[in-house]
Amino acid sequence: MATLELEDVHRHFGGVKAVDGVDLVLERGELRALIGPNGCGKSTLFNLITGALRPTAGRIRLAGRDITGLPPHRIARAGIGRKFQVASVFDDLSVEDNLAIAAWTRGRRGQHLPLAALLTRLRLAERRATLAGELSHGERQWVEIGMMLAAGPSVLLLDEPTAGMTAAETAATVDLIRDIAATGDVTVLVIEHDVGFLERLDCAVTVMAKGRILRTGSFADMRADPEVRALYFGTAA
């Protein structure tokens, strides 16, 4: 059964069709990249899935349950985690508290959390007591990804997770995302513009244009597709 299913989803802002009849099915444990030029509707689609916006029409289901139009906190409770493009962490709290807040939503007791393992995985073991506001940009991005992992979602939406990262941090993030998907429990949908990142991620790619799904296929196929090349990669790619 599909974990996340979008059926003919529309979102219009007046006369502007930001999302115009999107059908999308993601299976459990699938890793998928979502690409497209700026303004094609990628972030609006994330907003619709996570409840920030209500669809003008269409249904969104999580593991068969209709979550269309639910508020963000109920959709998050249902199992959809979202990482924002700009790292959204609690600056006045320590790294450990940031992760603990996310873990509490699973009904776990903070002290029983395998936080140490998670912190090590995120390369933040030495920074557990540091305020999130004092971390570097890349570290803040990892803290937010760590919060998603601590919350234990069944679907993870990552909006440009490597924005502003160094090459080394980006490579480590690719490994982390692949590890998450490799568990087979979490479905991951990633918005990303970094072609190098997408190449290393080596997963199925869905291309959006003008609020619609244009193509879905492997990264190599998409890169070879003339229409996608013209639209997104540029003819020189």
């Binding site: 996570t50 998050a76 962490v89 508290d97 939503t105």
Partner: protein
């Protein structure tokens, strides 16, 4: 993060020593100031810790005060309820209920936050004060006088027993709130203040957390107001309106909204200084307070007392 426990113990210990050092007049005055300090703590909780800028916190202080006056004067009788202490408990519940009602209306119904919330709560405080001024049951502009004092001690002219009881209540509430803020709830309030959107996307109801903080702040303010009216033996419309709401905001901003002890001490300190300076400067005292407020907001935005405390906490946290 609040002030170190040893410092809070020293502050309350120092306040406990006042009656033996100062006369009955200052003990009586300080009893009132301690209650205003508790009132300031309620706003620091709501504004400084939960990020809800309430410009009408006196609504709950006054609601607690008027409820206490109505119940202990026998103007309103509740079957099975008699005596000052049950009346105090009911006054706190009524103030919290008012906060719950407003919280539902403001956060859940209207979805108001930020500067809009400040404006709306300010307007509500003004409206409530006008309602009280025109309501015969509440004594209209004259207020309600001869409110029975708290049944503490044998000698009604000795302010010390009442002072100690009020100080003990203030200390209990303070340390109770500090313990609460050190718990999971406190961590969530910090998250709520820092990034409510992130909190919602983790699965928390931001509205429910805001209402919880608002109700808790309302209950503490109501407790302070009820005790104040029983101590002052007088409930007046000025306890519920705009002026006191603005005053407590200045105390909390000057002391430091994010540290409960700083807000508590700022209220007491400013009221003591006000006693001296208003004699020397008359109405010019308010100008001096306003100037100090502007300088503090511009140069020491975290508050005159909280800034050194936060610096100290930061140093202690970084120490190996």
């Amino acid at each position: 993060m609040d002030a170190p426990v040893w410092l809070a113990l020293a502050v309350f210990g120092g306040l406990a020593a006042v009656p033996s050092l100062a006369g009955d007049y200052w003990t009586g005055q300080l009893a009132r100031y301690v209650l205003f300090g508790l009132f300031a703590v309620s706003l620091a909780l709501v504004w400084g810790r939960a990020g809800i800028l309430c410009f009408g916190q006196a609504m709950f202080f006054g609601a607690g005060g008027y409820a206490m006056a109505l119940l202990t004067l026998g103007i309103v009788e509740v079957p099975g309820l008699s005596g000052a202490w049950p009346a105090l408990a009911l006054a706190v519940v009524l103030a919290a209920a008012l906060a719950l009602l407003l919280g539902f209306f403001l956060f859940w119904g209207a979805g108001i936050s930020g500067a809009y919330l400040a404006v709306v709560t300010l307007a509500l405080a003004v409206i409530l004060e006008q309602v009280v001024r025109g309501w015969p049951l509440l004594g209209e502009s004259t207020g309600l006088s001869s409110v029975p004092a708290l049944p503490v001690g044998d000698n009604p002219w000795d302010p010390k027993p009442t002072y100690y009881v009020l100080l003990a209540i203030a200390a209990a509430v303070y340390f109770g709130l500090v313990a609460l803020l050190a718990s999971r709830f406190g961590v969530l309030l910090t998250a709520l203040r820092t990034h409510p959107q992130r909190l919602a996307y983790l699965g928390y109801s931001v509205v429910a957390l805001r209402i919880a903080a608002f109700v808790l702040g309302g209950a503490v303010a109501g407790l302070a107001g009820a005790l104040f009216v029983a101590t002052d033996r007088f409930a007046s419309p000025s306890l519920i309106g705009f002026a006191l709401s603005a005053e407590v905001l200045i105390w909390v901003a000057l002391g430091g909204r994010s540290v409960l002890l700083a807000a508590f001490l700022a209220a007491i300190g400013i009221l003591i200084v006000q006693g001296f300076l208003s004699e020397a400067l008359g109405e010019w005292w308010l100008l001096a307070l306003g100037a100090l407020f502007m300088v503090s907001v511009a140069l020491v935005p975290n508050g005159l007392l909280a800034t050194p405390l936060l610096w100290l906490q930061s140093r202690l946290r970084r120490a190996p």
